[in-house]
């Protein structure tokens, strides 16, 4: 990657539809923040500065999912300007909590219920989709929100031109490292086995089940998680809803198939 005249990479941080949690987490890196601004040339970061420039970029970090035509255009424009695009947060990676209405008709029905027939002037709504529905994404950094350690190490690797490394295993592994008692053994519905590690199994460390906010891990054994929860006596719809909450498009195929089998 090229550097600017001061030898720094040009970086932009963008927010689409989400809760701004991932951008806020970057701001929450108080001590490291000044170093981040020193190490890279932050061209655009609406949450932190008002003198933003929309030019060529080395790296664009994009938070949030696409829910309006305008955001779609913005995203396409970011892709054109940036050499590397990284999706940050579960919304950008999988569509987020707002991506649960996979059926278009149902989404339209819901939209109407909330907004009636009102015509919005600026922004035509579309159903929430992760950014890879519209552009090619180079790297993903999931989490709702992303974790500080993972963000800093990823950021560091990226500005040195190395691809980020994510954990390819589930939260369960981190949970074992932290020597927690397995909640599933206590019949508490925990999504640790199918959720990507990275948070440090923080919920289970607090005696609470994982709700899956990091999104699904690759090759997650969804069928066995589902069967296990069924064996523990949980209701079919209950498990389905639980798995769908944060997984957006990540588990859509599996959940769709499940629906088929039920019928």
């Amino acid at each position: 990657m090229e550097k600017d005249k001061n030898g720094k990479l040009k970086i932009g941080i963008y927010e689409l539809t989400g809760c701004a949690g991932d951008a806020l987490l970057i701001l929450d890196c108080e001590k490291e923040l000044v170093s981040i601004f020193k190490a890279a040339n932050i061209q655009s970061f609406l949450m932190a500065k008002s003198d933003n420039i929309d030019g060529e970029l080395d790296v664009a970090l994009v938070e949030g999912s696409v829910t309006t035509e305008k955001e779609k255009e913005e995203l396409l424009d970011i892709r054109k300007r940036a050499k590397v695009v990284v999706g940050i947060g579960t919304c950008a990676c999988f569509g987020g909590i707002q991506a649960v209405f996979l059926d278009k008709k149902e989404w339209e029905k819901n939209f109407k219920k909330v907004y009636g027939d009102i015509k919005m002037k600026h922004v035509k709504p579309v159903q929430s989709k992760p950014i890879n529905a519209y552009i090619e994404v180079d790297y993903y950094l999931p989490g709702c929100p992303i974790g500080k350690e993972q963000f800093l190490s990823t950021f560091n690797r990226i500005i040195r031109g190395n691809p980020p490394e994510l954990y390819g295993f589930p939260v369960c592994v981190e949970c074992k490292w932290n020597e927690n008692d397995c909640l599933l053994n206590k019949d508490i519905p925990c999504l640790g086995p199918v959720t990507r590690a990275g948070c440090g199994s923080i919920c289970i460390n607090h005696n609470l089940p994982c709700v899956g906010c990091w999104g699904p891990v690759e090759d997650a054994n969804l069928t066995s998680e589902f069967k296990l929860l069924r064996e523990k006596g949980f209701d079919y719809d209950f498990i389905k809803k639980k798995m769908a909450t944060f997984s957006g498009t990540g588990m859509a195929d599996f959940l769709g198939k499940l629906e088929g089998e039920k019928k």
């Binding site: 927010e15 689409l16 539809t17 989400g18 809760c19 701004a20 949690g21 991932d22 951008a23 806020l24 987490l25 701001l27 108080e30 001590k31 000044v34 601004f37 609406l46 949450m47 932190a48 500065k49 008002s50 003198d51 933003n52 696409v66 829910t67 309006t68 305008k70 909590i97 707002q98 209405f101 819901n110 939209f111 219920k113 909330v114 907004y115 009636g116 027939d117 009102i118 919005m120 002037k121 600026h122 922004v123 709504p125 709702c144 929100p145 974790g147 500080k148 948070c199 923080i202 919920c203 460390n205 607090h206 005696n207 609470l208 709700v211 906010c213 209950f238 809803k241 639980k242 909450t245």
Partner: protein
Amino acid sequence: MKKISVDHLARVEGSGGISVTIDGKVVTDVKFSIFEGPRLVERLTLGKTPEEDVNIVPRICAICSISHKYAAIRAMENALSVKVPSKVVQFRELMHLGEMIESHSLHLYYLALPDYVGFPNAIAMASEYELEVKIALEMKGFGNHIMKTASGRYIHGENPVIGGFGKFPSKEELIWIKNRAIQFMPFVLKTTELFCKLDYPDTPEDDTIYACCNPGQKKYGFAGDEIILSTGEIIEKEDYKNLTNEFLVSHSYAKRSRYKGEPYSVGSLARINNLGERLKGKAGKMYKKYFNHRWEKNPLFNNAAQAIEILYAFERIPKIIDKMLKLPDPPIVKYTKKEGKGTGIVEAPRGLLIHSYEVSDGFVSFTDIITPTAQNAEDIERYCCIAAQKLLNSGEEDKIRDRMELVVRAFDPCISCSAHMAEVKKAPEEDWKTKLDKIMKEGSPIFIGVGNRNRSDDGAGIELALELRKHGIKDILLESEINEREAPWKNRNYRPLVFLDAVDFREKPGKVTLVPIHYIFSNSALSHRLLPFISDEMNYERLKNSFVLGVQPKSIIEGKKISRPVRQALTRVLELIVN
């Protein structure tokens, strides 16, 4: 207007902007809009268990995530009759204070101060105010630390649940937090002095209604079971709709609120105005030292109010921790109830936050969430309109853009939308034509002629009305024909009203301007004798649909005839309406 069903979009924080349109010397349009896409969060919670709802709703906004969680838990516990022990109550207050400290210091130092000292951002400001920026970061970090201790993570931690907490902090941890809070005191006092003494411009200033939670008899605080207004009225939390009366506008996905047709404000300044007298200790002293009548009508003082609240929070923390240290860690309270309705209200850093639910057969069947920025939106527009018009009057048009940013930012709508985008637009030539055309196309308006025919140009409105009548246009009324009881603004059928009048905009004689009627009310220089009287009689639906078509008079002299430029203007209006 068509009524739209009760559920609505909760998330309002996000990207947005403010724009003002100026037609010559008059502000004719102000729009605070939120471009954020729709997330339908309330709908997402339907069919979920109460616990899952508590997982999801903080994702409405990361910046207020603890407040959302807190409000949701309070509402659910209310619905499901869960009573939590004292230690849980204390720990929740502590976590909420953490969010206040974090959010207020982020807002004050990162966003507000750079404006007042002339830097584009806090990092740039650090070159001159290194110590301030450093300590501000530490202070924000301390708020974050409390939130992390209480909730498990910086943002969206799942530790607070219905019935209590998954885990309580150790004694050592609590003592560390207490000591740190005490250590910080000198800098906190400096922060308070700094922001109370800032030179806040006196534009805009105007009265409003302030609303916040009433934390109980004589107490200051950030949660309660009733809403208190600056008018002295009290509203039970279950009756929150009496305050919020929501409606949609087409330029934003966030719903709006008005109380009895009037905009109102929530947030730090509302709390300090309504409850400031109750502050004790150092915060009480600061309040007494700095609070004055300007705080009652100038939204820019929200920054000063936030600084006093930081001080309050730092004084409160050691007291809460002392109580917590004496109490054992209780297990999560179990409940068996599967049905119920409940409302929970808390003060998010930026104001009153309401969550209301119905649970049926163990699942959420109704959700209503009302956020502070949705409630402030109308006042944000109104104050921007006042500021822009005043600067225009004093010939300082170049200051409008920055001033509007200052106003929007003072309301602290959220960091992403407060950091950018204020726009000043020039209305196109003869803008009134397009607007009048639109009003006539969208609904058949009633024209009302206002004025005094014996005083030259003051008779323009009456003259025009009579001419229209002559041309066979229906629905024309004269001021003198209106009988009080049947006045068209009392009518429940909301056809648009267009008042025809001579209005002194300090323009070229004969210039025609079309403005929403409420802009005339908030611009004392413009108000005609009839209009203020009407304003009390109009509800908001009516107000939104009423306009003034004003012609700039040349002179208003007893016994004289209408001047030439005004007469020409009347002909142009006549032509447009008749054709």
